[in-house]
């Protein structure tokens, strides 16, 4: 009797768990396109955090890539080829990202991957994709080392031929923020905080470097644990340091509470961050005192670009539940770059996909050039976007408002 009931309970629990996973995969799983062109199907993999704290950005990426595939099918851009997307959830974890990468590599129809969001995840995926010559275009990675090697400050070496991105790097973003904070906001004393992840610590380092060069003073540094919610001890330190501004290298799930707790501790100073905090969730978490907080983000505000009008309209018409968020336009362009590369390869091969399609597409990616949502899309010799725009946003009335924009033309 006891044994029997134990089994029953276990079974019930297992059944429950299975139902739950089924629910989960319905949300995060692939959306199969109904448009069947009768020809070849090319799958564009999407890897992003679809659940968890960063899902707001991840889901925007997934939906936008999906929109690109649908538009390509609608226009019948590549004759005889139907595009589909398959989205996998990396939960912002490098380990999960690598598993997803292996999965994409093992699926023959996958000829390109959009993603990931996090630079740390990208690090774990690059080699897997490069070995399989499967092209990867990230809409959001900003870590300079991903394209220019670990020693990018002294000697730029491209590590992986299959890695491309449409986002601007932190090598430009961090200094741009430093210039803005020092020259325009006239803050000379900064307290630098990061989350010890690839993206956060890298961004904080490029910011600190330029801020010091300009003559600013770093009055304190602190590293926080991304799992933590209580930053009161750090906030008290910030208050007592006499800093005029806080720079945070990290993402909005921590930046929001951090900003809130710093202000609550009595230090009414702005928090400045990078593209990782430029999401509307930041304001939800940081509360009303966030007004005046700043974020730099890569690219011009999507709403300002004439090319983006169509995207915004299509996205609305597409009926996606989530916002396109900070990287929607870039994800669309990333997916579109893959589509353009596929088109070139198919056209060169007399309307058919060649056997070594993956290698050919990776090669073709280098020469891709088109007018995308975010402006002209093409890649330099490192796989970085040639279009390098940045914008400083400030929180005003509970929304991010662009206050300054810049173009890198080095």
């Amino acid at each position: 009797m006891r044994q029997r009931s134990l089994i029953a309970i276990t079974a019930a629990l297992a059944a429950g768990a299975l139902t739950l996973t089924a629910c989960g995969s319905r949300d995060s799983g692939d959306k199969k396109d109904s448009g069947d062109g009768g020809g070849t199907t090319v799958v564009i993999g999407v890897d992003a955090p679809l659940t968890g704290d960063l899902s707001a950005m991840g889901l925007g990426i997934k939906n936008s890539a999906d929109l690109a595939a649908k538009n390509a099918n609608k226009q019948n851009l590549v004759k005889g080829v139907t595009f589909k997307t398959e989205a996998l959830d990396d939960q912002a974890q490098p380990s999960a990202g690598q598993q997803n990468a292996s999965k994409f590599v093992s699926e023959k129809e996958v000829l390109g991957v959009v993603g990931p969001l996090n630079s740390s995840v990208a690090e774990s995926m690059q080699k897997v994709f490069d070995d399989a010559k499967l092209v990867q275009v990230s809409p959001a990675n900003t870590g300079p080392a991903l394209t220019q090697g670990q020693d990018w400050q002294t000697k730029k070496v491209r590590g992986y031929k299959s890695y491309f991105r449409t986002a601007t790097t932190d090598a430009i973003q961090g200094p741009f923020a430093a210039q803005y904070v020092f020259n325009e906001a006239k803050k000379k004393k900064v307290f630098v905080i990061d989350d010890k992840k690839t993206y956060g610590s890298g961004l904080a380092a490029t910011f600190t470097d330029e801020f010091k060069k300009l003559g600013g003073k770093v009055v304190g540094t602190e590293h926080i644990n991304p799992d933590a919610k209580d930053f009161s001890a750090v906030a008290t330190k910030v208050k007592n340091s006499g800093a005029q501004v806080v720079y945070y290298g990290g993402e909005y799930p921590q930046a929001g509470p951090l900003s809130k707790q710093i202000k609550a501790a009595g230090a009414k100073i702005p928090l400045v961050g990078g593209d990782g905090i430029k999401d509307d969730t930041f304001m939800k978490l940081a509360g009303s005192e966030a007004t005046g907080d700043l974020a730099t983000s890569v690219g011009a505000p999507v709403e300002d670009l004439p090319s983006a009008k169509q995207f915004v309209a299509d996205y609305k018409a597409g009926g996606y539940k989530e916002e396109y968020s900070a990287y929607g336009g870039y994800a669309y362009d990333s997916a579109w770059a893959i589509i353009e590369a596929v088109k070139k390869v198919v056209d060169d091969n007399g309307g058919k996909l060649p056997d070594d399609a993956r290698a050919k597409i990776t090669e073709a990616m280098q020469g891709v050039s088109f007018d995308g949502v975010t402006g002209k899309v093409s890649f330099d010799e490192f796989g970085d976007a040639t279009n390098k725009q940045l914008t400083v946003y400030a929180v005003k009335n509970g929304a991010w408002v662009p206050v300054k924009s810049g173009t890198y033309s080095g």
């Binding site: 429950g16 768990a17 989960g24 704290d53 926080i224 209580d230 008290t236 609550a264 939800k284």
Partner: protein, 309 residues
């Protein structure tokens, strides 16, 4: 540079919250020797219970009116889930080997997390929690946030109620008896099944109060909030001496203060600046735990392990 009083208050507040959740671990362990790993998730469901009540109330309801209702809502949800878990998951396993209920607890913890993730509206990322209006209180150069006022009041009051209940009421004494020796207590006419249910319910109620405090303090709740906090609260319970309700509170406060002071001061020790940031605070907290357990394996206020077996 005199931030010590403020940092102590920060630690005390954080610790009180750990303590409120730790009570649940310690009571259940004291009576059925089960480490209820799902307790962190019961804490989490309490927070969502409170949020549900808030969303139910018409917009613009005064926080002073809403807060008691939210606490009641949190307690109802948390207690219902805890009692349900006891009835359907743990009771059938009461005579099974120790490992079975432990694994069940872990499974239950995952199931609860995923259930909230999947079915609570928009719970896939953090949800904002209503806040008490008004500015912070300043006492000398120490600032106490409005959101923390609730914690400042709730923690000692809950503790006093618990102490009264356990020491003075019939059920409380039955609880002590069951904790000392379940078989003898049963022979003396104590309804041990009922006592166990009450222990689960009480633990959940305190976790629910802690959950409301969490929401008010941080302004957001999410489906994973119970995991780390549950782990910390469990550590607090062990630190204070698992099975001892005062130990849970003391352990929570010690842990909270230790984390805060580690963040604030370790970096000032020459040569330790690498190990002083907030990301190392957990490491120092666990170093403290190991040290305490080395010299007092029973925890700060715990009974000797030999008495237990």
């Amino acid at each position: 540079m005199n931030e010590l009083p403020q940092q102590l208050v920060n630690g005390l507040l954080l610790g009180s919250m750990y303590g409120l959740v730790a009570i649940g671990y310690t009571m259940v362990y004291g009576i059925v020797q089960l480490i209820n790993f799902a307790h962190g998730e019961i804490f989490m469901t309490g927070a969502f219970g409170a949020l549900t009540v808030w969303l139910w109330l018409p917009g613009g309801t005064s926080m002073w009116l809403a807060l008691p209702l939210m606490i009641v809502g949190a307690i109802i949800v948390a207690v219902a889930i805890a009692v349900g878990a006891e009835r359907f998951a743990y009771r059938p396993l009461r005579t099974a080997p120790r490992l079975a209920p432990l694994i069940t607890a872990i499974g239950l913890s995952l199931a609860l997390q995923q259930a909230v993730w999947a079915w609570y509206p928009e719970a896939k990322s953090a949800r904002t929690f209503p806040q008490i209006p008004g500015g912070p209180f300043e006492i000398g150069n120490v600032t106490i946030q409005t959101g923390d006022i609730f914690l400042v009041l709730a923690a000692p009051i809950s503790m006093a109620i618990l102490a009264y209940f356990v020491m003075k009421t019939r059920t409380g004494r039955g609880m002590q008896a069951t904790a000392q020796d379940p078989d003898t207590a049963k022979l003396m006419g104590v309804n041990t099944d009922r006592i166990i249910v009450i222990a689960f319910a009480l633990g959940a109620a305190f976790a629910a109060v802690g959950a409301v405090a969490y929401g008010l303090k941080y302004g957001e709740i999410n489906f994973r909030m119970g995991f780390i906090l549950g782990l910390k609260a469990f550590t607090a319970a062990v630190l204070g001496g698992i099975g001892n309700i005062y130990g849970a509170m003391i352990g929570g406060v010690v842990l909270g203060v230790a984390e805060t002071l580690a963040t604030a001061y370790i970096a000032d020790i020459p040569g330790m600046d690498k190990f002083g940031s907030q990301s190392w605070a957990d490491v120092w907290a666990f170093v403290l735990l190991i040290l305490v357990l080395l010299f007092r394996p029973q925890g700060l206020l715990g009974e000797r392990v030999a008495d237990r077996a």
